[in-house]
Amino acid sequence: MSVRRGADPGTEGIRSARDDVGPIPRKNVGPVAWFDIRKRGLGQFAFSLNRLTGLGLVFYLYLHLAVLSTLFRGQEAWDDFLGIATTKAFLLLDVLLVFGLLAHGLNGLRLALIGSGRGIDHQKALYRSCQVIGTILLLGAALHILGGD
């Protein structure tokens, strides 16, 4: 091999090309990654569900406050609302609300426990317990809400 020796081209080119940071691969586009539970564990499921139900409950809070504004407008407006609110379809949404409260609340209790150093090696068992308790309570609530007629 023979290359004519001139000014030293050096390694500047190599180094400067590496100064830029390469693209960062992500498992999913932005916040979708929070809810991507494919090939993930129970903890990720709990986190995803917690986030989903949390956002859902905030949405419900404002919906609830908006609906209650009908109370400002007196009895008639309220009775109109009650007419819709006591339909089967609407009551199913109430069951969904209870589900959200139970999922978020019980998992929140679990997070408060492990976040303060309690039962950290049993986080999965804790979550399973939450699921069992939550399911029982949800069934009870659903029977009560839907079984009124």
Partner: protein, 128 residues
Amino acid sequence: MAARTTDATTSAPAGRSRTWVWTAGTGVALLALVTIHMVAHHFVVERMGGLRTYEDVLDYVANPVMFVIECVFLVVVTIHSMLGLRSVLFDFGLSDRAKRLTDRGLIALGVLTVAYGFLLIGVLASRA
């Protein structure tokens, strides 16, 4: 010891453990408050679905114990919600400036929410 060289140490909003403690604390309080709220509204009422009539609602908020509980519930649920939203928004990896703006925005939203709620409860209680 130096921490990492990014903006970690210079991060402006001093949240740290306080936000976690508040989220957990309000969360535990909500377990009780939501239970009371739900039971009082849905499970002690005989009617299907447990929803109250207009008069029932007015009587309910006029009860001083319920009035206080509902007010506390409103404040606690708003704090918990705002902290939850903050945690979600901060997970986008916001800049320090965006974090400060987010904090201010959420405080404003929270204050508005509580003010609206108090107004609602107050007006209804006065109608009873």
